[in-house]
Every structure is written in structure tokens, then in C-alpha cells.
Point group: C3
Chain length 138, copies 3
Amino acid sequence: MLTPPNAAVAAKAATYQGAPAPKGHYRAVYQLDSDDPKLISKTLHNMKNALEDPRLKGKLELELVVFSGGTVAFRKDQPYEADVLALQQAGVVLAQCQNSMKAYKLTKADMLPYISIVPTGNGELIIRQAEGWSLVHP
Amino acid sequence: MLTPPNAAVAAKAATYQGAPAPKGHYRAVYQLDSDDPKLISKTLHNMKNALEDPRLKGKLELELVVFSGGTVAFRKDQPYEADVLALQQAGVVLAQCQNSMKAYKLTKADMLPYISIVPTGNGELIIRQAEGWSLVHP
Amino acid sequence: MLTPPNAAVAAKAATYQGAPAPKGHYRAVYQLDSDDPKLISKTLHNMKNALEDPRLKGKLELELVVFSGGTVAFRKDQPYEADVLALQQAGVVLAQCQNSMKAYKLTKADMLPYISIVPTGNGELIIRQAEGWSLVHP
């Protein structure tokens, strides 16, 4: 049977305010591989929130890896462009999977001009983590 | 053309019983950012299963990071409370994103009393992984 | 107000072609925990693409950890067998969560003969990352 947590435990929880961030630099790769409009917007806003976390502000390097259905977010003439552009201007690397472009028969001319193209999104996620980058997949 | 795996390969697979866990301590951060009831229940049960994995039993430290739609799981008067409480009593840190609370106009009084509040869920995931914690996002 | 990125930024993006992969060996664990047919196919094809990424070709070790709803992918008589078999023949370890088999009342006889059974999928993901493996959850 479960018993309610006691006062000591509640007090301990009340004092925890998140992991401290003593390092001078943090790096994270975000994965966007869905064409669900809600998930695309959420991913872009999550990245903005991470950049503004007071623990990480000014020392967080981000890369957004887009593949599969997520590819729509880096196309021209889509509703996410203002958010994508804001991330780019905040220094985020925008990495588009070339494999996915081929699958959707897209060329560079179909895509936003300020993105970068990488061989595969999966490979990019694997290599970045092997270099110590954190992963977030909203 | 594909050929069926031979007996040697099948025998090798039969002998693999999972990665050994030689370290004295393991740490993992779980991500819960959806209000899908099935996914919330799954996440809570996955954490219970991880704690009971015979390879990790007694040496696994867990933190559950809740943000975005997942915030419902840490509110008062919701159907997940027994499972959340069981995790808390098993020593799991329950970390709620403050940004998400603001977005949903929630105050501490709306939330379970034994949770911890962190600046952003995204920042918490990034910092924990940079410290060597594993990530699980069911 | 947002301003369009300038030519210098666009030029920098154009030169980024993905993270280099200087290490001699890379390891990644893939998570498959959904019975959504599209997601199962996507996961299996993502792994194939990662193995063929020119940066990682011939030096990428993969393990596919299946649990929860994903368990269907390792059952006999399902539509994913050709893709699962192709991964197995490419050297991918196929790790099935034993907990999930119990939950679905499945025995070894119900499963593909060349898979491996591990205590829990969650534990496997946690231990592998603690050993330095990258995580991909399509």
C-alpha cells in the first residue's frame, strides 16, 4: 500500500531547483522527423526555451537535425519560417538530411537558402552524440 | 536477395542476454512531454520496469522531467497520482518545467506537493545528459 | 523584428556538410516501442540509412531495442520480416524486451528465431548509453 510522502521528502523536493550547469559550454542536437504541425512548432519553441534557460544562457550550442516528415519545416513557403529564421539568427545550425530530400524529390532551390545539408539525419544524430552532444527529441 | 540466417548466427543471438551492467551506479532521465494518457501511463510504468531490471536493481538513479503537455501528470487530482507517488517513494526526482507551468497558468498550489520545479525541462534534459545521464523518451 | 540572414551567414551554412566522423568505430542503439506500422517501417529504414551514411559506412555498430507495442516487429508472420532480416544480416543485434513478451503472453516460439531476449528494453537503453552508445528514437 502506498503511503503519502512525509514532510522530510516534500522539503527535499522543494529545495531541488534543477541541475546546476557548471560547465562553460553545452551542446545539444534536436531531432525533428515528423510533419505534425503541432510537433514542429513545439520543437522550434522548445529550442528557444532551452536557449533562454537561465542556467544555459550564452553557453548553449544547438543544432536542429531535420529528416523524414520534418523536412517540411525547412522548405520555402511554409508557416514555420519566422521561427526557423529566429533560431538561425540565434546561431543554431540547421541541418537537413540529404536522403530525405532525395526521397521527396526536393532540390536546394526548394529549401530555405540558409540551411545546411548533411548526408543523413540519422548519421548526424549518431556522430554528434558520440562527440558528447545531448539529444532532445520533442 | 535475402537468405535466412544460418544456424551459427541464430546460436549467437540466443547467447546474447543483454548488455552487462558492471558499473556501481547508473543514472537516467526520463522525458514526459505529452498529454496522451496512454503515453503518460507507459512512461510511468517504463520507469518502474527499469528500476526492477535485475541488472540495474538497487543502483539506478532516475529523474522524471515533465514539460509541455506532460505537465498534467504532476497536477493535483489526476488519475496518475498513485504511479507518480510510487516513483517518488522509490527515490525518483520529479522535475517539473517552470516554463510550462507559466504557459498553462499553473501555480505551486495546483501541483502535487512533492515535485521539484526546474527552470526549463529542455535545459534539465541537456544538462543531465552532459553529466553522463542516459535519456529515455518513451 | 526579424531580418533575413545576410550573405555571410548563408555562405557559412552552405559550407557545413555535416559533422565529420574521425573515430574508427561508432555505436548506436535504436528504440522501437510503438506498434504504429508507419513508425516501425520508418525505424527499420532509418537504421538502413544510418548504416549507409558515407561518414559511418563500415564502422557503425547498431542494436535495435524493441519493447512495448514495438514487440510486434519481432513476432513471426508479420509484414516487417524482410527488413528485420536485412538488418540482422548487416550485423545489427536485435534485442527484445522480456518484460514486454510476458505482458503480451508471448514465448520464444512466437518470435523470430534470430532475435536476442534482454531483461528489459528500458534497462538495455540505459546501460548502452552509459557505455557511450548514441540513442536514436525515430
